[in-house]
Symmetry: D4
Subunit: 225 residues, 8 copies
């Protein structure tokens, strides 16, 4: 186990992993721990190593049992169950234009919370507008005016995912669309809204992977600084 | 070549085809000639045979050269180039609630015209609302009130096809969504709007095949009678 | 938590959801609760809110345990286990031409019941014809005459889904085809019958999502009014 | 260029190809020349080499220009334009139960002819029943009785391909289903009927590749001997 | 519950199902009970009804618990666990040329047994050759001579499924290829060998659905009579 | 043909299209003309109508012949052949941090130019770094320092599209990844790099549709203002 | 049960399997036991039979319970849990240039260990470099010099799989890329990195199936001998 | 236009391209020019720049017209029409074990020649065995002995691509499998043999992209040195 330090390029070699605690200095956002496929022991060791840096330290898609172990071992860490996140050393001083996080339905809320809590940990202000899908579009239109105040908008939608384009057509900032795996049948676990969003006729919409709330939160934070 | 007649089940055996001129008596809509893969001579002979019935006689996706031959040979036939239709014996007496035919963009108009002209030939009244896609949704919302008068609505949309759900969320009649092949890249020649429409969060939306304006026109006519 | 009321556009803002109890006044069919991805508590609160409206109130794809809780809490609600529905405030006065609900096999019955019970709740008369798939098509042909009396036909079929086209070729009303996930191998959980139905050579067939009995029930009800 | 002969396993080494003129002795059906991707010169040399054997010699999917060159160079060869076949040394003495070749529509006829002419060349009797797709299933049912006389049935169908299952449900012999590329949109050049046929609820249906009339003709001939 | 009898077209209407006990008289093979999606009670009632006919009665993909109930209730029924079959009234008098059932590997044996036991129940002689995949093709080649005696060959193979073509290139009878779901990764639960078999360069190979041993057994029996 | 004006929501109704000349006031970027599927006459009329607004006016994927007609009719319009753009009324005063446009190879340049010229027309400064794909990654690494000055980076890459992640791992601003259709075989016209980019292990990467240089240019401009 | 011996082509016929203990003499690598779909008893009998040969004997993707039974029954066998391997008779004398096994992340380690332990058992020297994915490419570049000493490199990567191309662009030996199923959403269980690797712009990269560490280990061993 | 030289990492910056003439010193194989999507002028300039290095210089998938221009401008360059290659500065001194290039059919020869000529230019000895597909496997088995002399084997096969596994099962060296786009229907332009080869039950087979003869030639050369 050796430690390599070259300016901002430092990383720690744990053998099974090479965490980079100061990535936020290098890139403006931190390395996160994507938990699936890692053992509890590996997660714990990487989490400890990342805490050496300035934070925030974020573990995503974490198993409830592992999460509860982490918050006991590291008292500053918080567990957000619906969002499947453990976060430590969040940035408390908020700045920048608010980020709006919008969902098509109630079942999209966990992904939306992953985005919202990530951006919050990165020091951004968040406004949540949930369950405004196009089956009752008047629920979205009452917010049409305030959407203009957003620095960036994250839209989380499953089913047909039309909300991405609709919000794109109303907004004057970049929209990050997150297709969710909420749906059935020809939804194919998120392919339907993914394609919808990639083909958006509104030109200010870009897309991240299905259910990737974390990435959307990072990108919105980089935009709305 | 023999002719079989059993009540409404009559058909003519041409060897290569068995046209059914009186299908409209049996089903309320006529047999159409789907032209691709048929020779000019085959199309001409089937067209002639169907003219024996009460009509309308409709040839779809017809090649311009073949179409021009048909309208010369059968003076009552009309050629609609953008819609790729030749129609004879259209029903002139219109009845039923109007059918609204709506498109997301200008490039969807040919498919929309296939639907509109089919329903018109079947004796329905048509209202056209074109280029009201969700990139500028206020263009659709000015029509929100009149949409309530529709007996059925046909929505033709390419790109992400979000218009199907959005109209579904505003309408109080069945919506027949037609995904079009207008788009590029991850559009996959219409798969993107097809999936969008199949996953519509508005429950009054059913779907036909990509670019199937003819089928949408038939179904809307059966509904709005 | 605020309540917004603008004519028929009213909805209740619960934060995680914005239910619309009077959607049936606006669109002719009610908002349903799609249960997957919602917590028991969320389902219960939305159900209670929708009961403020005229009904019917329909929860789809509901978990048995959650369903049993609902019918205890809301005595007017009924649980239909095979169809995975809880329904309250069904319309008892039936009207319109009967809706035929047809299946290819026995395993398609749960989806068919979802469609039938939905249309029944919306005040339609239902005729059920089950297990008449094309492996023994004479079982369908004995019903050929009575099919002419249908105002709309819902066809639920898995395996190859050929029944959609076959019924389409016999009927004189719109056919709503519901591909089911019944099958294996190259069935791909319903893609095979979905494609079959989208490519129907009978022109009066439109399609809804795989296993979407609810949507088919709504559309058939809107047609057969 | 050397020639290797070991009993029935002989073949000729032309460098770019190793034709096997006596495959019919080894397997009961001859090697055919699949023309796409071969130069005219290569096709001509392989054709000449296969003529050394007992025949039949069959070139499939042949370009019209190349075909016309072949029939000039080899006077015993016949060109069937719609079926894209050149055949020499067909077996004139027919035997076995008749093979029925059935199509859903007129546009499926070229594939059907490829099957029919192949089986004919292999010495089988052929009955053709064309354009009996399920949009008007009574056209098929008039043949229900005679289908019982078939030794094997080849069903060629595009669009949704439901005819494969329907014929399978009526027949008492093996049915070889050939999906055709006739269709559009969600047909995907034959995938839709391919999946339909693979999922047939009639158990006597097996499937060959899209548009593979030749293979179906060979298999039907091996069955109906 | 009514019973309809028209010559061989009789069936019993159980409401949820319409079994046809004499299908073997009509088609030469019996109706089978595809168990997934049916309740135990439904399976038991259909099984009882089919026992009215001449048999064989075959329930496929049956759950072990349900199977054990059946063999207790119906003493003549046998349960074959690996093949997931319950069979009653098998035909004991065997006739026709032997059917060869061949597998690529050991994991393909359950599907192969489904085919073998089905054909056995239909009165055919079976020869089994297991684990002769192309990774060690000499294991197959030692059987090259005896393969010529087959009336039909069923090849069950997962992984890349090359065995279908290889056996096709050696045999002089029809080969029914059954892709199996044995594999991982880019195997896609059987799509890889399915495509392999559909594209076979040997022309005597036709294909059934992934893991469809039953269908292969039926077709081989119809061929090798 | 009527004109509707409601504050910034004005649009012109041309029947076949409803252009919105002042969309840049409403959203910060203008409506563009997506040319495929539109007739020359339609393009000309929409172009003329959009020129009423403040611009820029951008026609994308334009046919060379149509483009040459436009620049003759509208002298202020410029045609960029490789990028398939016609642009009029570009914003000449540049502001904001520079946008870097990077390509994997030479064949990606046309898409990159579509992005670069769009952002330039919207008043941004552009830095181009072409042909720095990962087959020779040292070509990219010489630019590692200057990439830190970017306000936003557009990465256009075909083949495997790895450049999106690699640049994402080096940058401290949002990266908009554009998969291109440059490749062959299992590239599937851009699906391979599309999936690569959607699965980027660098969290600051979002994605637009295959070959959608225009959208990437718009989004980069909105970010880097 | 008969045993056939012809030079190196010997195999043992166990009925359900035909193991080939001396395949390493015939091909330079041994037959392995792919465990899924085999019963414990079958695995045990094949393992015993392969032990007759010179080894190594390798069982892949083995269930923990079965593995523990094997190492008890065959004391020379070792179980590697993360790699899901049981290995006996590994070659202890190592030779050839070292094989580098590289991973993008920590979750790819089990697949990497399958490759490393396989090559080790075949008598190769292994160097492991784990968690050097392109999100922090400087972690890989510190190894750039030593990579030149590799005889072959195995790259195991999930997510977008860009590491395959990046290593390919740095190496001067063949790179065997193993896409892993580590990822989510549009990763499709490994399709995304599979396509990435197949489209590598570095020409020295070839690919094996998703998660196929065993195959990669065999091929690297054959190259680096 | 600037030139950067850092040891073996030198490259030339042409603006639209950054060719690396000495890549063969860095990696053991040269940079090739993938021609599709490049203009004639770009190809010519890159070709000229690469000629500064030691060679070989290889342009792949080149248009015939462009190729003829190159061989006129650069007299040492040769054009191989079937293989679509222009090659200059091939290595004349051959070394290493021979590379076998094998095809399933005649139509696979152009891809095979791309591989063979690439490896030849890199200084390897080539043995060609064409048209030995599994429809007549005895044509391959006559070469079984000589295959043992190969240092590496390239197998090019379309249709079902079974030849990859079959050769893998006979060989004792690495096999590089190249799926070709030769086929139709469910072949999907090479997906069928690609999947076949990725799922090979022979463990010594790795795969390159569809029709990627160049890559296979490079890899075989690196192995067989």
């Amino acid at each position: 186990m050796t430690s390599r330090k070259r300016a901002t390029n430092s990383f720690k070699d744990l053998g099974f992993a090479k965490p980079e605690p100061h990535r936020i200095h290098r890139q403006g956002f931190p390395e996160a721990i994507y938990c699936p496929g890692k053992t509890e022991d590996q997660i714990r060791k990487i989490f400890a190593e990342l805490l050496v840096g300035p934070g925030p330290v974020i573990a995503t898609r974490i198993d409830p049992r592992v999460a509860r172990g982490l918050v006991i071992e590291f008292p500053g860490a918080h567990y957000y169950e619906a969002a499947r996140l453990v976060i430590a050393k969040a940035i408390y001083r908020k700045r920048g234009q608010p980020i709006y996080v919008v969902t098509g339905g109630t079942a999209d809320v966990p992904v939306a919370e992953e985005a919202a809590l990530t951006a919050d940990a990165l020091g951004r202000r968040i406004v949540r507008i949930f369950d405004v899908g196009v089956a009752g579009i008047h629920r979205l239109l009452v917010h049409q005016g305030t959407l203009q105040k957003a620095g960036a908008i994250v839209v989380c939608a499953g089913m047909e995912g039309a909300l991405g384009s609709v919000v794109g057509g109303l907004a004057s900032c970049p929209v990050i669309a997150v297709p969710t795996s909420v749906g059935y049948g020809a939804h194919f676990n998120g392919i339907a809204p993914l394609l919808t969003m990639l083909n958006s006729c509104a030109s200010n919409v870009s897309v991240v992977n299905i259910d990737n709330g974390f990435g959307a939160g990072v990108i919105a934070s980089l935009i709305s600084k």
